[in-house]
């Protein structure tokens, strides 16, 4: 359990990382911790009930003695760059537990709905000794793939009767999920959507050996399905110990980290080019852009 000083220092370190520039990250990249926590990601469209579900799960797990850090990412306003980080309101009972550390961050200028340096923030939470690290983010297409690279288990939430199922098929996000949750399963249409998704998963191309993505109905209001979700999380963790390759995980996280920095640097570079640069022929513009990508100290 963290002391008040440790809690404050961890919070400050997260702030530092969330606003560190590409140059700062390259000058002093945080080292990999000697330990790892179990990482669970929750994603899905806005309003689907991610924060409420995370709050309820974390409360249950903390009550059993598990220490959990939650990183919740909310979108920034494209106009003011400000943000209302509202995930906490739905997690207040869980975040009152001393085994829980909860932090909200803004997606700021990130391209994929994550916050800047998210991989390093997760590593820092891991290094602080939590048993589990939970990442919650708004699903905006690219976010699902980023979550996949960063966590051990991806839980995708969808809401009944919203056409989400078809959207999910179109975007290919079903393939990213290790567990699918139909949230607010007390609402009408939930059972039908669950059947529909379950058969889609069953007849779809198999992605993982020995793992069939479960499709669960969960209602935080009534408590229905929470137990099943926890069992599915445990089953997936069990599966991962025998079927996931530590080297491959390390590679995909490192790849995300470097890609995150390059994309950010690219964004700055493209914004810094002037009309003359853009008047050049495509190959020349491309070459000039790549040349300017190297961060200057």
């Amino acid at each position: 359990m963290l002391s008040p000083d440790e809690r404050r220092d961890l919070a400050r370190e997260i702030s530092r990382l969330a606003s560190a520039s590409v140059e700062q990250m390259l000058a002093a990249p945080p080292a990999a911790p000697g330990r790892s926590a179990r990482r669970i990601g929750f994603t899905g469209p806005p309003g689907v009930g991610k924060s409420t579900l995370v709050g309820s799960l974390v409360e249950r797990r903390a009550a059993r003695g598990t220490s959990v850090a939650v990183l919740a990412i909310d979108p920034a306003s494209p106009y003011s760059k400000g943000a209302i980080l509202g995930d906490r309101i739905r997690m207040d009972r869980a975040s009152d537990n001393s085994r829980v550390f909860m932090r909200s961050v803004s997606s700021r200028d990130s391209q994929d709905g994550m916050c800047n340096n998210v991989a390093d923030i997760l590593t820092t939470l891991e290094a602080s000794g939590f048993d589990e690290v939970v990442l919650e983010t708004v699903g905006v297409g690219q976010a699902e793939h980023a979550v996949k690279a960063l966590v051990d288990t991806v839980v995708l939430l969808m809401q009944p009767e919203t056409g989400d199922a078809i959207q999910a098929l179109k975007a290919g996000i079903l393939e990213v999920a290790d567990i699918i949750v139909i949230s607010k399963s007390d609402l009408p249409g939930s059972a039908r959507m669950r059947e529909h998704l379950a058969s889609t998963v069953r007849f779809g191309a198999k992605r993982a050996v020995d793992w069939t993505t479960p499709v669960l109905g969960v209602s935080v209001d009534t408590g229905a399905g929470l137990e099943e979700l926890e069992q599915a999380l445990d089953a997936h963790a069990q599966w991962a110990t025998t079927h996931r390759d530590a080297v491959a995980i390390q590679r995909s996280r490192m790849r995300y980290r470097v890609q995150d920095l390059i994309l950010r640097q690219l964004d700055h570079t493209l914004a810094s080019l002037d009309d003359t640069d853009y008047a050049a022929a495509l190959p020349a513009l491309y070459a000039a852009t790549v040349k300017k990508l190297l961060p200057r100290p």
């Binding site: 008040p4 920034a76 003011s80 760059k81 943000a83 209302i84 906490r88 803004s106």
Partner: protein, 133 residues
């Protein structure tokens, strides 16, 4: 005036259940560029201090309509110090008679706002105090 890069916690301590004012302020702060965390209704000062630490905020704004603003400000300031966050600036807004201002400042408030003030003035004052460190 810009609050770009500032993190501000808007909190409702005590028992009053009206948060329209808190939400209006939260939106105005966001539009001024701040990252705003809102606690929801009826939170204890200990909880507010804890959230202020975890969210590493620059300021806490308490919205109080219940009349117990002096006690709640004093208690929140104490909890912030206990949580090693005594450097976080504490503001208070709501239905606050002007004669309570000295007591509020003595209790730890770095700024006091009421509903007759214009939002732009509130933002400007927050920016001034926060930039003064």
């Amino acid at each position: 005036m810009s609050l770009a890069g500032k993190r501000i916690l808007i909190a409702k301590p005590g028992l009053d259940g009206h948060d329209v004012g808190a939400k209006i302020i939260a939106l105005a702060l966001r539009d001024a560029g701040a990252e705003v965390i809102y606690t929801g209704l009826r939170k204890a000062p200990e909880y507010i201090a804890r959230v202020a630490v975890e969210e590493d905020v620059d300021a806490v704004g308490l919205s109080i309509l219940s009349g117990s603003h002096v006690d709640l400000v004093r208690e929140t300031a104490r909890c912030l110090r206990e949580a090693k966050a005594g450097n976080v600036k504490l503001f208070v807004g709501g239905t606050i008679p002007q004669e309570d201002n000295p007591a509020l400042i003595e209790a730890g408030a770095a700024g006091i706002f009421n509903s007759s003030q214009r939002i732009e003035d509130v933002i400007a004052e927050l920016a001034r105090v926060l930039d003064a460190g």
